[in-house]
């Protein structure tokens, strides 16, 4: 299933409903819902922040294969955005030296098992995969 969302923070609520619907249809549980919501929000908000002049909608796609979930995010008419190129976030740094940014990309990498980025014809296409475990299935 896929859906386009307006490029605005207020779209986050509609995204939650979309993800909830996917999770329910596929018999997945709260753990996976939380992970997908977080990753989608982090990608979406990064796309908004780093391309403030961009106007197009952002398309979110979710599908379930045998033992994995594939999330695709398409940002039309945008600047290149590749989270895999972001500097690593050191989660062991003490409070006084801890940076207040870059956490979102770090969390995306923690939650997802594979991230693939393409930039073609002014479109960013991110394909992220999460391997499903038994704990992700609703009892």
């Amino acid at each position: 299933m896929k859906k386009k969302f307006q490029r605005d923070f207020s779209s986050l609520e509609q995204m939650c409903s979309f993800i909830q619907s996917f999770v329910h249809r596929n018999g997945l549980n709260e753990e996976i819902r939380f992970a997908i919501e977080l990753v989608v929000e982090e990608l979406f908000t990064n796309m908004l922040k780093y391309c403030p002049g961009c106007m197009g909608d952002i398309e979110i796609g979710l599908s379930k294969r045998k033992n994995e979930i594939v999330l695709t995010v398409k940002d039309f008419n945008s600047q290149p955005f590749d989270p895999t190129q972001a500097a690593d976030y050191d989660a062991t740094v003490p409070l006084s030296k801890r940076p207040t940014g870059k956490l979102g990309i770090h969390l995306i990498k923690k939650y997802m098992d594979d991230i693939n980025c393409e930039y073609k014809n002014n479109m960013n296409k991110l394909t992220l995969t999460k391997i499903l475990r038994k704990t992700h299935v609703r009892n």
């Binding site: 923070f9 986050l12 939380f34 982090e42 050191d90 989660a91 062991t92 409070l95 801890r98 969390l107």
Partner: protein
């Protein structure tokens, strides 16, 4: 939906979803904190990096005067985000 309320002993209670659309509202509340306070996560369902950053900025500011935010009743999903972010090492979690 995201709500911030104040309970007994000046405890701060968070409710709902603390996402990027709620940062301005949260900043307004957390910028007003100047002493050690407990934040109750019992009714908080979700937090993203946007919410975590508000907590981090507050913790940094409070620590300059020996104060801190103490967090309690985090659900298991939020605990996991804290662990991934390494926030379990910079916040006291009850």
């Amino acid at each position: 939906m995201f709500e911030i309320s104040y309970g007994e002993d000046n405890e701060i209670a968070l409710e709902g979803r603390f996402d990027a659309s709620q940062v301005d509202k949260a900043r307004e509340a957390f910028d007003g904190i100047n002493t050690t306070r407990t934040v109750n996560f019992r009714d908080l369902d979700y937090i993203s990096s946007a919410g975590l950053s508000v907590l981090l900025v507050t913790q940094k500011r409070l620590s300059e005067n020996g104060n801190q935010l103490i967090l309690k009743n985090l659900n298991k999903h939020i605990r996991e985000v804290f662990r991934y972010a390494g926030f379990d090492m910079i916040f006291q979690i009850l």
